[in-house]
Symmetry: D2
Subunit: 344 residues, 4 copies
Amino acid sequence: MIRVGVIGASGYAGAELVRLLAGHPQVKLNALTCRQDAGQRFDQIYPAMTGWVDLVCEAYDARKLIRSVDLVFTALPHQLPMSLVPELLDQGLKVIDLSADFRFKDAAVYEAHYKPHSAAGLLPQAVYGLSEVYTEQIKSASLVGNPGCYPTSVLLPLVPLIKANLIDTRLLIADAKSGVSGAGRGASSTSHFCHVNESFKAYKVGSHRHTPEMEAVLSDVAGEPIALNFVPHLVPMTRGMQTTIYTQPRGGVTLRQIEECLQAFYAGRFFIRLRGATPPDALNVKGTNSCDIGYTLDARNNRLILMSAIDNLVKGAAGQAVQNMNIMLGMDESLGLQSCPFPI
Amino acid sequence: MIRVGVIGASGYAGAELVRLLAGHPQVKLNALTCRQDAGQRFDQIYPAMTGWVDLVCEAYDARKLIRSVDLVFTALPHQLPMSLVPELLDQGLKVIDLSADFRFKDAAVYEAHYKPHSAAGLLPQAVYGLSEVYTEQIKSASLVGNPGCYPTSVLLPLVPLIKANLIDTRLLIADAKSGVSGAGRGASSTSHFCHVNESFKAYKVGSHRHTPEMEAVLSDVAGEPIALNFVPHLVPMTRGMQTTIYTQPRGGVTLRQIEECLQAFYAGRFFIRLRGATPPDALNVKGTNSCDIGYTLDARNNRLILMSAIDNLVKGAAGQAVQNMNIMLGMDESLGLQSCPFPI
Amino acid sequence: MIRVGVIGASGYAGAELVRLLAGHPQVKLNALTCRQDAGQRFDQIYPAMTGWVDLVCEAYDARKLIRSVDLVFTALPHQLPMSLVPELLDQGLKVIDLSADFRFKDAAVYEAHYKPHSAAGLLPQAVYGLSEVYTEQIKSASLVGNPGCYPTSVLLPLVPLIKANLIDTRLLIADAKSGVSGAGRGASSTSHFCHVNESFKAYKVGSHRHTPEMEAVLSDVAGEPIALNFVPHLVPMTRGMQTTIYTQPRGGVTLRQIEECLQAFYAGRFFIRLRGATPPDALNVKGTNSCDIGYTLDARNNRLILMSAIDNLVKGAAGQAVQNMNIMLGMDESLGLQSCPFPI
Amino acid sequence: MIRVGVIGASGYAGAELVRLLAGHPQVKLNALTCRQDAGQRFDQIYPAMTGWVDLVCEAYDARKLIRSVDLVFTALPHQLPMSLVPELLDQGLKVIDLSADFRFKDAAVYEAHYKPHSAAGLLPQAVYGLSEVYTEQIKSASLVGNPGCYPTSVLLPLVPLIKANLIDTRLLIADAKSGVSGAGRGASSTSHFCHVNESFKAYKVGSHRHTPEMEAVLSDVAGEPIALNFVPHLVPMTRGMQTTIYTQPRGGVTLRQIEECLQAFYAGRFFIRLRGATPPDALNVKGTNSCDIGYTLDARNNRLILMSAIDNLVKGAAGQAVQNMNIMLGMDESLGLQSCPFPI
């Protein structure tokens, strides 16, 4: 059994980690920490958990943590993990960070879109935790920067095709739609039921901080700089993310080749479900770590339309983090992520 | 491993059974049958299941079924199970029926609210599957009539108090609210998104067929005829059921006694969570087999307000059915029902 | 044209007043005041209004207000109106207050459930603005205490029957369900989309401050003290309120008499729609000032089930306030409230 | 007063027409016809309308209709209007058809995507009812083919820019999202609450029949053939449509020029609200005939992102039809469409 802690357990991603880890057959969940709710039982914050999780959310105490766990998940706002992670790594813990702090190879890019980075020295050893793409690197990582939800939904369909040089990277448009839980647990006018319900709108058009994260990975894969157009939208649902991507195949590339490329790349990967021309539905991945991918060619002007669906809190956050833990520890990547999906 | 089949797997209760049984550690799910979708893979009807369930929905064939399973769940519309169950029992199968066909001891009551009963001879041996109440009888049952969702939500808070003679049974009012999945998978104006969304209304006021089912159990428990007022309402949500019950304690009975009675009755029962004065929330039991129960006394006129929350498809249908299977087979009642709940 | 102002225009009830007054053929909307958003254009707070309302939300300035309007609606949190209203009345303005400050005849009752009252001297002249019940008093009122949403939904079905002595007031149970807008515009965990969506729960069981308001009116009408059991619930929808009331007819009173009593009481009142045994649906009154009322007798134990549906922001707040203004000014009560309802 | 009839009043677009026409100051609504519900009162089909509309839905009878109305709206499934409209025009009625039957100039295009056209002779005189674009032609039209909801949302932002030759028409991608009412009143698994709620997916990717309709108009405006990529998605909300369009400005064209072009084109048009960089929200146009338009330039790769929001049943169907009637009759285009929007 691996001894695990969750730093920042009271946010949505943290709570989803708790849900998954509480049911993981090889995990002993030993420590939860929260900032605002320290001292409270976790099941008072999330009463759904009563009877399943009896831990108390404690204030962060590095020494105590180091004694009681082998691996930690940090589910904190950006900027906080960078101040905690160096000490934890020094003491031999493995760390999976769900913030943006360790997602970038280039500190300058991080700093251009977030704030100054106080632990940039760790970036070279941090591995970007897109589980199906960087599997080998994750196996030997001590520090994983877990991907954002939007990047996961955009990169999983695109990376294999760009790696195989099948699409023209000058046209890459990602129109993404997220459930409200992506905005976090904090109460704000953005998350007020009456402002979200019966509403649909774009936000942060062309300026969302997940854009440089996607571009860094795509550029890495392509071997040349890539500029993506990315527009996120807010959907009146709790969980789920659907993304429609518009691009074009390189000259002569057929839909069959596109499909075969995806099939080959994702062969044996349990969580990737290729759906052919059937549009993926966020409902079908709710509560699961699956990513459904669909693809259609609009032959009239040779545009390739890729679509993906994930649960933003699972494959887009906590689930992929657990998958990364499994990979880091040499276990089956689907361990603890095998609950049968809900039919509706 | 017990070999299990689901008759009527394509409806919501059937699909929820498939979800739970696919993850049950002691179950080998061997057969699914459907009427309308026979010949289709189950994961074509419910694409969420792709990768988890690879069975085909077959047409019903008693002989084939009898060879391949030890226990069946029948999740069919009322009137259909009564024509299938006698043969299955004769052949030594255990049967858990989710329709109303085997819920009543008295065929006349069934026939007054449903239609003529062609297998009334089985009613004496059928056990009403309210798991926490009829546990002993379920242990030795071959045929279980699984409770309706509304009766489950109403009976669990009331039965212990009536058994202990703590409340005045002349005043029993149950105001219940159900998510839309309770109306089933069939498309109708009732289930049309635009008629349910932003809507709230009562239906079948004073005439719902679950009323005689509740009254039969309550009368059995009380040892005298009980007439309940029951009004169901439809809530714009997929799953979940909340019921508020209004009654009055007998002279001198305190809220403390009410609570102690419930605590004693449900001691050691994993799925019953007593919440004190905190109102149970359908959100906190979503996807789980739990029943949350709350209780408050309005001292000004000595009215006891009981509240319960369940997931109508789980504790209100498929989950309780699996719990009953566990009990019938001498296993831990929570086996296969232990997935950690969702925080949101 | 009557010159009108809205004090507290940025909350939901205030904004709904703006919507209705902007379209009222006899109203000149001259002043909007807000506390937090002073200086902002109203259509920046509510962008839906762009092109319809071009007023700026100003800070409250009694002198300026008095010069520019003849009648004000105060849509402020409890305790604030009592400090403003005396001066406004002194200067000859008519006031319709949407808070609880002027709903009670007895200051002691107000103070028992709210806070000390600094303008209790005005209570004798304040008229409770339940439009169809206190029509005559409203006609000559200068100060109206506009009813709460729950009281409106409970009182409209009950008052005629209690006045006519047709029901036994010892059993009065109101199980009410409200859309989320009833909780106001402020962001809180209560109104967070992810906590409300797919959720259903009771709150403030037996302790909601609308209970004494209802009891005061019912007792006034009955001529004897009445204690009601009232439990509010929260529904995942933006607008709407449905209430189911359980009571019993006095000996020998028939459902026909109940219906005739309601028909006679509400004859000629445009906004009351008697629905017979058809359960009223919140969807059918959305955006309108109507109150739909249904009634059924559960003959087995002689229980009368009354149901009502209103839009909590219209008949439950702003719409009834406009209706009261119409009555105070001797105009048709439906003026400015005649927009045809939405089919869905 | 103009005497008006609605053919096909029981569908959602028909019912929305009834709502608008019932409140139109210059309209006498004289006839409603339905196929399935003939003989029923309209307010039995849509109980929200009780007290506002007392007409009975009659079976279609051309003679009777011709005697009683001057103008008809046909809100029927495709293929039905073409069999009725010729006779109505012959008898001097004006016709606004909400189906696709009279939207195409070229019968071959219609027939390629729908079915054979039996009244193709009328196509030359039919005017495409995009109110702000074909205003002059609508003024003198006897037959208007009212635009589809998706085309309205796509064309309003694009037409001025293409007319002014400001954008490169080789890149035109429209990612559109619609509320469920767009699928109509018929019950189907598509519209089942449990399949739509908490779901988000694309459908008819690259094959929706609104694509040729948009392309025909865009090509007409551009003076050259245009092929658009169009992907519609389904949003769990009742009403509303949001579309995000990706294109690129021609060399040297600035965002300022884009904005000025839109401002000039839509100067004085009440229903077009230019929002600058603020993303339009479907919530802000709910129940209104407005079209909100936003625009942002992603300067990194010179992509122009246009966004629009409409209510699919109003500006996307019935509202625009009424606007067209106003224009045809020489009235103010906003007559009967002036109800103040809801704040939430």
